[in-house]
Symmetry: C2
Subunit: 237 residues, 2 copies
């Protein structure tokens, strides 16, 4: 199976086997109180019609991160999205086509911001997390891994904000955490906790969409957050 020919000239590398590298994006969104995932209905063979994550091969002249950013922008129109490497999926037989290692990356999207036309044009669909169809290859495992990571990560870093609009209310934030952890939380304790970190700026506006009284909007204080992290503070929600 080892292939000693190589398209490249340097002798030192020649003895080794180059491998195809892909990256697959596990893209989370939060909308109408539910956690969603952006999946893709394949319009070409192989496995036409099946659902998969959004991914791409990594090119010789781009980093894996760049590849993922490229795909993400292609499909959602968004740049500067929160994204993080999950792990590699490197089993020899994971892809029946040919030996191909995929690097899973999960991304958090402000679902209010993405370009819906682009998304539809590419055959991508936002699926509620609890109603996901089966996905090709090992993509189901990637999704499971990503949720595990999101849950762990959200406990000690306030990444929840990445999924919400810039201005959000405390009840919205609580809904998000309830969706991530799939459990109800006490509103008094939740509010106390998130405000105690001192990284939320209360605005003079209210959001009246979900109640008659209206809830105050807040925004995330990135500078303050950086300071606190630098001084070694621990966030746990």
């Amino acid at each position: 199976m080892s292939n000693k020919t190589s398209p490249w000239s340097k002798d030192w590398y020649k003895e080794h086997d180059p491998i195809y590298i892909a990256t697959d994006c596990i893209i989370f969104g939060f909308d109408e109180g539910i956690l969603k995932l952006l999946v893709f209905k394949r319009r070409v063979e192989p496995q036409k019609g099946a659902y998969s994550l959004i991914g791409s091969f990594v090119k010789l002249n781009e980093s894996v991160t760049d590849a993922a950013k490229r795909v993400l922008e292609e499909i959602t129109g968004l740049k500067n999205v929160f994204m993080e490497e999950l792990r590699t999926y490197n089993e020899v037989m994971r892809d029946p086509g040919y030996r191909c290692i995929s690097i899973g990356q999960y991304a958090l999207i402000r679902i209010s911001d993405y370009d819906n036309e682009l998304v539809e044009k590419h055959g991508a669909i936002w699926y509620p997390f609890n109603e996901l169809p089966e996905l090709v290859l090992d993509h189901d495992i990637m999704v499971k891994d990503a949720l595990t990571r999101l849950r762990r990560k959200a406990r000690y870093q306030p990444i929840g904000f990445e999924l919400l609009p810039e201005k959000f209310t405390i009840p919205q934030l609580q809904n998000l955490y309830e969706a991530i952890y799939q459990k109800q939380m006490d509103s008094r304790n939740f509010r106390k906790k998130v405000l105690s970190f001192g990284v939320l700026i209360k605005l003079n506006e209210k959001d009246k969409l979900s109640s008659k009284k209206g809830a105050f909007l807040y925004k995330f204080d990135y500078d303050k957050y950086q300071q606190l992290v630098a001084s070694g503070i621990n966030f746990e929600v």
Copy 2:
């Protein structure tokens, strides 16, 4: 820069660029109360004489995990070592030789068990963590990442045991944690905490090497640990 020729036949893959994949191992050991790392003095070009981590290219017919296990056994003689993927190092220019992505994996070794002859034969050296020489490429970053991960991981999983002999004393265990976190701990609180999990089995033997009174030996109860994890218990040391 894109290279459209390919050594493989399937058309679908032909359009893409295969890339070299390597894995580098960040191997921790614990000896004489200090945390150590297994590094390697290169005996061939490029960078002959420089220090690096131990690594290998990943072959077409092996998974990344298998590749790392292969290297690890080659150099230490050990199988069944605790090992975990760290992350990928995928910058386009990280390796001046050719485009090569490396997958960092960290491993924990019982320093009492490894085969010293093998290690020396391969030019590998155990270095105290605080006196590491500069390493080639981005290996310094890998080491830093691995330590960060080890610290985080050791907080909620009892992986410390992987670095100690099968039978160990509580003071030894405390030394290890002090080495990992680089801070002193209170022996009464430490003992109380680790015993409270109920995953240590007290033996009827004492270790007299480090004190006249002698300290009781314990061993780790893997079964009990599995049960507790399954029932959702949280370990925090």
